[in-house]
């Protein structure tokens, strides 16, 4: 009886456990990449998204591997983004490309991706180091905020050295500036602000801060702040330093509405309208991170991870890639 009981339990346990036969992995003929953007109406992110789509099409034509890019807009909500990540995973995405809404809340997304074994390429908004170190299938592609800021400062230092009257319009020996800053919880805002000003100081430009404010990377908010400052400090503002082009363009809108002249404006990102503003002389310069390289690195990394291939790009500490940047000046 004891033997029979043992045998019955053994059979039962085998039934419950089940047996999985090994199958030989076949090379993939199609890959699916889920892309979640923190906000689809951000001009820089939109530019990046266009290049990403072009790169995917070019890759598909070149390699014959079908690429499905699921691009979703999180509309500035971390909850929406978390749901998008869940949906991407349930739809069988091979890899995720995530532009996090809140860089401090990437842990939840990482947990889901780790559980499903889906690698993640973060971009533009860098998750905290602690989260990035949780898994070896997490990567980050971005532009070095300090480098952007130093280059932005360099535009102004060079301008001051060649034509100081372009910055010090009233000739009082001081360049009076206001600062348009991005989101307070975005790592780039703080670093861009700090190093842009530091570069001006290092370049011996005599500067005086009038005021500053957070415009959350947005053109409309940049415009509203600049409008207030133009009223509050008439004929005082000589320079507007903006953490990005969209806010700088907002300031230009306000300046044009107020009919004010003689204020120098500088941005970062080299978005299409930003570069247009530099070409037309409305902005003194901007900083371009090569979007072909930027989006190309995101896409190639994602494609290689999806196909289980060796990564082409060399990642710093095996995780970080910093996109090259350059100055775009007006004539």
């Amino acid at each position: 009886m004891g033997k029979k009981l043992g045998t019955a339990l053994l059979v039962l346990s085998l039934l419950l456990t089940g047996c999985k036969g090994g199958t030989k992995a076949e090379p993939l003929t199609s890959i699916r990449i889920g892309v979640s953007l923190y906000r689809g109406d951000d001009t820089f992110i939109n530019n990046l998204r266009s290049v990403l789509e072009e790169q995917a099409k070019a890759y598909e034509q070149e390699s014959g591997i079908k690429v499905t890019l699921d691009i979703q807009d999180a509309k500035g909500s971390q909850n929406v983004q978390n749901n998008q990540i869940e949906r991407f995973i349930s739809l069988g995405c091979n890899v995720l490309c995530v532009n996090p809404v809140d860089r401090n809340s990437a842990a939840g997304m990482i947990d889901k991706a780790m559980a499903a074994g889906v690698p993640v390429v973060f971009f533009n908004r860098q998750p905290v180091e602690e989260d990035m170190n949780r898994w070896d299938q997490l990567y980050y592609v971005g532009a070095d905020a300090k480098e952007s800021a130093v280059l932005q400062g360099t535009i102004l230092v060079d301008l001051y050295q060649t034509a100081p009257e372009e910055l010090d319009r009233n000739g009082d020996g001081l360049v009076s500036y206001v600062l348009l800053e991005g989101e307070s919880n975005h790592q780039d805002s703080l670093i861009r602000t700090e190093w842009s000003i530091q570069t001006l100081k290092d370049g011996n430009v005599p500067i005086e801060r009038i005021t500053g404010g957070i415009a959350n990377w947005e053109r409309s908010q940049g415009s509203a702040l600049a409008e207030q400052w133009l009223e509050a400090y008439p004929d005082k503002i000589e320079l507007i330093i903006s953490n990005n082009d969209d806010m700088a363009l907002g300031a230009i809108d306000a300046i044009e509405r107020a009919g004010v002249k003689g204020i120098t404006i500088v941005g970062i990102d080299a978005t299409t309208p930003g570069v247009e503003a530099v070409r037309s002389g409305k902005m003194v310069g901007t900083i371009e991170s090569d979007k072909q390289v930027y989006a190309g690195t995101i896409f190639k990394t994602a494609a290689a991870l999806a196909l289980g291939e060796q990564l082409e790009t060399e990642f710093e500490d095996g995780k970080y890639y910093w996109c090259p940047q350059r100055i775009i000046r007006g004539n």
Partner: protein, 322 residues
């Protein structure tokens, strides 16, 4: 251990096993599987700029109706051959239904006649009711053209020349729109002229060579590409803007609405693209599940001027919130 005890132990083990099977596996109680419907949406363009609101509706339907929707643009805009290849590829890759905005309707019909398409097909921007089409979703382009023509005539009561701009020889929706608008101008005696690829020919050359003193030229863009291109040219060149009495067209992309808001475009015919996107997914699923035989959705058209953009009834349609 007595026999009775052994039986009790065996029963106990069996109860445990049954409980395990009930709670942790689907051997006894089958878990209801919610089916995900795979749908491919293939447009006629290489970019999705004119499909922003459509995609919002499509995404909304995908979540609400449990669909996995792939939105596909062509490698080269308006390449019918590529579009046909994409349809076959998506069919082969397991799409349950295909939504397509055809580059050339005739090519699509030819494919259907040859029975190359074996999955339900939802056609956008076409009012064809072929028996092999599961659903057609489109505005009535002819009526839309007539509506625009009548609005222009009422805004410009004095007879003036009308230039019709189009990127390609009008086909499909553009052809019907052209017939509608041109018919109204013919009835009222307004002289019209069609220009293909006006950007390549040069807006300044076309408008200055045909300048009508004291009248101005009314420009009607038959397709969205021409409208955006012409609006951009007029916004950059005040002399050209001075030569035109008004720029009109159809479409509700963000860039077009911005030009309308800036007064560069005088009037637009718009449709509810969000609903078109939603319906396309809904009808595709209904075709997959065989809940509906065939569907024909004719989208309403509206004529809007600058001041209408922020009216609540239009704002909801033009800037839908998902």
């Amino acid at each position: 251990m007595t026999n009775k005890e052994r039986v009790i132990w065996l029963l106990f083990a069996c109860v445990l096993a049954v409980l395990f099977l009930l709670s942790s596996t689907d051997l006894i109680i089958k878990e209801r599987k919610s089916e995900i419907y795979s749908i491919a949406v293939i447009i006629e363009d290489s970019r999705d700029d004119h499909y922003v609101n459509f995609k919002k509706g499509m995404d909304q339907a995908a979540i609400a109706l449990n669909a996995d929707v792939s939105f596909i643009t062509l490698y080269d805009a308006r390449s019918s051959r590529q579009q046909m290849d994409m349809i076959l590829r998506e069919q082969q890759d397991g799409s349950g239904a295909i939504v397509v905005s055809p580059v050339q309707e005739m090519d699509l019909l030819h494919m259907m006649e040859q029975n190359q398409i074996r999955v339900p097909l939802v056609v956008l921007n076409s009012v064809r009711t072929d028996s092999k089409i599961a659903a057609a979703i489109s505005p009535d382009y002819y009526a839309m053209g007539q509506m625009l023509g009548r609005e222009i005539v009422s805004e410009h009561p004095l007879v003036c020349p009308v230039f019709l701009f189009c990127q390609y020889e009008p086909t499909g929706g553009s052809e019907l729109f052209y017939s509608g608008v041109n018919g109204v101008f013919a009835d009222y005696g307004y002289p019209t002229e069609l220009f293909l690829k006006p950007g390549e020919a040069g807006f300044d050359r076309i408008l200055t060579a045909n300048a009508a003193p004291n009248k101005g030229i009314v420009v009607v863009a038959l397709d969205q590409e021409s409208l955006v291109e012409t609006a951009a040219a007029l916004s950059e060149n005040s002399i050209l803007a001075g030569l035109t009495a008004g720029l009109y067209g159809r479409g509700n992309g963000i860039n077009m609405l911005n030009y309308l808001d800036r007064g560069i475009i005088s009037g637009l015919c718009v449709t509810d693209d969000f609903s078109a996107g939603y319906f396309s997914v809904q009808y595709a699923i209904e075709a997959i599940t065989k809940k509906r035989e065939r569907g024909l959705v004719t989208l309403d058209s509206y004529y809007i001027r600058r001041g209408d953009i922020r009216k609540p009834e239009y704002e909801k349609m033009l800037y839908p919130i998902e």
